[in-house]
């Protein structure tokens, strides 16, 4: 599904990602971990193709095509989706109106999803304006449900979310990445940034990657990586020379 090769990314005139390799096969969902400021959000946003993120070296191959130069919206139309860590507020634009525009001719489904995400009463609200932390996450998941990407990247979906909503969001994300299906019927893929690993209570991640200072320092079983971080902190990974 996704194949990132030797990716170097500059943001604000500074290189933040220093040669990342990352492969996510079809039907698999991986988690991305790492300390604050290590470049996780930057990596996701450059895969998505935002304009401030300049790829200076390397390639992004998506579904067999080199998309490194492809504009953001074309990557979205080609099947990429992103849950924002901090989405902007768009005053005047109603959440419901955006869903209508995204859903094209078939908005009925969108309202059904809104009901599922407990967001029906937000359809008339300005997009993200005064949404609480948990409401932002639900709104992001709802938009992705309407968008139906083949490969979805989620930037800290569980942070700031209460226990009840974590279950709601976790299950919805599991469906987004086909984790509710039998393994042979799974076609969608995901990449999830998590600090706590709580999301793995709702979907089994197939692999984990650990990003430190803009480099992948460790890969493997996500629960094991998490355990090492919990017991020894990130220092262990920073000093580790396994990769």
């Amino acid at each position: 599904m996704l194949n990132v090769e030797n990716l170097h990314v500059e943001v604000g005139g500074k290189e933040v990602i220093h040669g990342v390799d990352l492969q996510i096969p079809e039907g698999e969902t991986h988690v991305l971990m790492g300390p604050n400021g290590s470049g996780k959000t930057t990596l996701l946003r450059s895969i998505m193709g935002f304009s401030n993120y300049t790829v200076t070296e390397g390639r992004i191959i998506f579904r067999g095509h080199d998309v490194t130069e492809l504009p953001l919206y074309e990557r979205a139309r080609y099947g990429m989706g992103l849950m924002f860590q901090r989405p902007p507020t768009i005053s005047g634009l109603k959440l419901g109106k955006l869903l209508d525009v995204m859903a094209g001719g078939s908005p009925a489904k969108a309202y059904e999803y809104a009901e599922m995400m407990n967001m029906s009463s937000f359809l008339d609200r300005d997009l993200n304006a005064n949404f609480s932390g948990g409401e932002i996450k639900r709104s992001e998941v709802l938009q992705l449900m309407v968008q139906q990407p083949d490969f979805v990247m989620l930037d800290e979906p569980e942070s700031g979310v209460d226990l009840e909503n974590i279950a709601l969001i976790g299950k919805a994300i599991a469906r987004l990445v086909d984790k509710d299906r039998h393994i042979i019927n799974r076609h969608k893929s995901g990449l999830i940034i998590t600090h706590t690993g709580f999301i793995m209570d709702y979907l089994e991640a197939d692999a984990g990657h650990m990003l430190c200072n803009g480099e992948i320092r460790c890969r493997g079983n996500p629960r094991e990586i998490l355990k090492v971080i919990q017991e020894h902190g990130y220092q262990e990974c920073i000093e580790c020379t396994k990769l």
Binding site: M48, G92, L93, L98, Q147
Partner: protein, 369 residues
């Protein structure tokens, strides 16, 4: 030679469309009354709603002697060259009197239509007596065939105790038309005045600064304007509320877009009495190089008034556009979606049918973004 326009049915298909874009309904269905003035001739007045009288101002002044106290009472005859010009003409325009306790669910529509290159003058008097609720929609339209022309309009609103007047004005003028409205409203105790202005079409010049005098306790005024200035348009728009009585409040909202035109967006609230509140919100988007000059003024005259304003002028933020692009909208779609949201002003207290009319007038301009 122009064929005289007697009524809506004499209009060309293009002009009918322009009227509809200004919120006019050509059949009287869903309208409780209709007034039509083409150039300087009053062609049509009707009002089927009980308790609401609509008649040409000239006739009204003859019929009701007391009306002279309302004529040139809120707007000064000697204010400027335009008011003096109108004062020198036979009175045209309409007078509406909503009797005590009357209510119209369907709005009254008035249409001021310019068919020739000349000066059109109107003087409107609108009175809502105690407890009355009056909704009005005014389409100001010039024929697509009009070149140069001017429209000078005086409007005086009297909002009685516990009464409500909503007035929605949708402009569809031509590129070479000059428009100079002069209007003012006086609000009695517990009354509400809602004034909405929409202009999405090219116009040469508009200059206006309507005022609301809140002289009755706990009265409320809300002005909203939604304006698009294409290249060549020069709009000098203001809205002012004078909070003269205890517990009065005002909200002045404007959304301005320039596509090369010039807009001065003025607003002024005077907090001159106890427990008064006022807020100004002026947002401008510069889509193509043009000028938006926002001048919000708040003037407090005693300790127990609370006035605020927020104003912002600029282009659409890149992160907003890219947010929508990440959802699969291309840059143009994302921009149009954000602009449509920007212009979406929901007016509290306005009947749904009028809100829909406003939305439709804005939607109609969407292809022009």
């Amino acid at each position: 030679m122009h064929k005289a326009v007697e009524g809506f049915e004499d209009l060309s298909p293009e002009d009918k469309e322009r009227l509809e874009q200004s919120g006019m309904m050509l059949s009287s269905e869903n309208r409780c009354g209709s007034f039509f003035q083409a150039d300087q001739d009053v062609r049509h007045t009707s009002c089927t709603y009980e308790g609401i009288e609509m008649l040409p101002t000239a006739e009204a002044l003859k019929k009701y002697d007391w009306l002279k106290d309302y004529y040139w009472n809120l707007v000064d005859k000697d204010k400027d060259e335009y008011t003096r010009y109108v004062a020198d003409q036979e009175p045209r325009g309409y007078t509406i009197i909503a009797k005590k306790g009357s209510k119209n669910i369907f709005p009254l529509q008035t249409c001021l239509f310019m068919a020739t290159d000349d000066i059109q003058t109107v003087h409107n008097i609108i009175i809502a007596e105690e407890g009355a609720e009056l909704h009005l929609i005014t389409g100001c339209v010039s024929s697509h065939s009009v070149g140069h022309g001017s429209h000078y309009g005086i409007t005086e609103f009297y909002v009685g105790k516990d009464a409500l007047i909503s007035t929605t004005m949708i402009h569809t003028w031509g590129e070479d038309v000059t428009v100079v409205p002069r209007s003012a409203a006086k609000l009695e105790q517990n009354s509400t005045f809602l004034s909405n202005y929409i202009s999405m079409k090219p116009v040469k010049r508009v200059q206006m600064y309507p005022e609301a005098w809140l002289t009755g306790e706990n009265s409320v005024a809300r002005f909203s304007s939604v304006v698009l200035a294409p290249e060549g348009s020069e709009l000098d728009l203001g809205q002012r509320a004078i909070l003269e009585a205890k517990g009065t409040s005002a909200e002045l909202i404007s959304r301005v877009i320039t596509r090369g035109g010039t807009v001065v967006s003025r607003s002024h609230i005077v907090g001159g009495a106890e427990e008064t509140r006022g807020h100004i919100e002026c947002k401008g988007l510069i889509l193509e190089d043009g000028i938006i000059h926002a001048i919000p003024e708040i003037e407090g005259r005693l300790t127990n008034t609370s006035l605020s304003h927020e104003a912002a002028v600029g282009k659409i933020a890149r992160d907003e556009i890219e947010y929508l692009m990440a959802r699969g909208l291309d840059e143009e779609e994302a921009t149009a979606t954000i602009i449509r949201g920007f212009l979406d002003v929901k007016i509290q207290g306005l009947p749904d049918s009028l809100q829909r009319q406003i939305d439709a007038a804005i939607d109609a301009a969407e292809d022009g973004f």
